[in-house]
């Protein structure tokens, strides 16, 4: 499955991760093209419904990137996001998609290299997990595996 290219949705806080992504771009840093970024006014805008929607519409992984703890522009948005991510992870486990396909990262607007690192880390993690059970590629993978086993 080394050719598996996961689709990852990154919900990025405007005040940190989104600026960090900008910085990563200005610094000409390379990071995997698997990331689809969605700007949030604050990671506290994270909504479990929207996270689930991302998975339902074909994302193999999702992450929310918010400010460093204690640095939220709106004081506690990132702490709230953290709690919601924890709850959404539980839900994903219950559904059978797996909570480890969802992560929360904290960084600041000046951490361009860290943004690229996070994108790498997440892509690697999802690649290891393989396609989401809702992804048609998952079925193909399973079928191939069972054929190989039969042989």
């Amino acid at each position: 499955m080394s050719d598996f290219q996961p689709k990852i949705v990154a919900f990025c806080c405007y005040y940190c991760a989104y600026s960090a992504a900008d910085l990563a771009g200005s610094m000409r840093l390379q990071y995997p093209p698997n990331i689809r970024m969605v700007e949030l006014p604050c990671s506290g805008k994270t909504d479990i419904r929207v996270v689930l929607e991302a998975f339902e519409n074909g994302a193999d992984g999702v992450y929310v990137a918010g400010c460093l703890e204690g640095d939220c522009h709106f004081l506690k948005g990132n702490i709230m996001a953290k709690r919601r991510i924890k709850q959404a992870k539980k839900l994903l486990d219950e559904i059978g998609i797996g909570g480890d396909r969802l992560e929360m990262f904290n960084l600041s607007g000046s951490m361009g290299p860290r943004f690229a690192e996070v994108a790498e880390e997440m892509t690697e993690q999802i690649r290891k997990l393989g396609p989401s059970p809702l992804n048609p590629a998952y079925k193909e993978k399973k079928e191939t595996a069972s054929k190989e086993e039969a042989q």
């Binding site: 909504d47 479990i48 419904r49 689930l52 929607e53 998975f55 339902e56 839900l91 219950e94 559904i95 059978g96 998609i97 059970p133 809702l134």
Partner: protein
């Protein structure tokens, strides 16, 4: 308000395993306030059920609607256009009352998505506590506004009992002794003498003794 909590997704999925299309009905009353069965939770449950079924290769179609209150026939009318022939089951995200009202009104398989817990209030964001035992005859005026029926583990009316230790109940050190709270409150209010009155046996016939209860207020009846 009535406080409820969502059932595990797998449990709800099991209840509708034969259905191909379900109507997920939220309630805009108490369960919206206690974040268990409002519009948002309807969206989350419906999405979770769809994904779970898609994963099992048995796609599920969902229709989502949240009405103002499921415990009122007036609002139930809004549901009529959503209860079409192709709906195999209705998942009600209301308290037990709402589930029954939907089931009584429509000839459909209705399942609850919540576990109804108690009549209570918000202690802080995300935390709700039980406050009323629905006993049918309020005695809060005798106890400084603290209900011994539901907040005392034994529901005793002449407390505290011997299990009260350092203001806590013997069942759990986290649980306050209701009678300690009552005593402290009455002391603050300077009404300790009221506690000297012997409380007669409570008339439980006004509670759940005589089967399901009904309240009739003739002056507002239309028929």
């Amino acid at each position: 308000m009535i406080v409820a909590e969502g059932k595990p997704i797998a449990e709800v999925a099991k209840l509708i395993e034969d259905a191909n299309k379900v109507l997920v009905v939220g309630c805009g009353g108490c369960v919206t306030v206690c974040l268990a069965g409002g519009e948002k939770e309807v969206g989350i449950l419906a999405s979770a059920l769809r994904m779970l079924r898609k994963k099992e290769d048995k796609p599920l179609e969902t229709v989502e609607i949240t009405i103002s209150r499921q415990c009122d026939p007036e609002y139930m009318e809004q549901l009529e256009k959503y209860i079409t022939d192709d709906i195999d089951a209705v998942v009600s995200m209301a308290c037990g009352v709402g589930v029954q009202f939907v089931a009584e009104r429509f000839n459909k398989w209705v399942v609850p998505a919540l576990d109804t817990k108690f009549a209570g209030g918000a202690l802080e964001h995300g935390v709700w506590g039980e406050r009323c035992g629905l006993c049918g005859e309020c005695i809060l005026y005798k106890t400084g506004g603290i209900c011994p029926i539901i907040r005392c583990s034994k529901s005793i009316l002449n407390g505290p009992c011997g299990g009260s230790q350092d203001g806590k109940c013997e069942i759990d050190t986290e649980v306050d002794c209701a009678w300690q709270l009552i005593y402290d409150r009455m002391k603050t209010l300077g009404k300790l003498d009221k506690l000297l009155e012997i409380e007669p046996i409570k008339d439980w016939s006004k509670s759940r003794d005589g089967g399901p209860r009904k309240v009739v207020k003739e002056d507002v009846m239309i028929k």
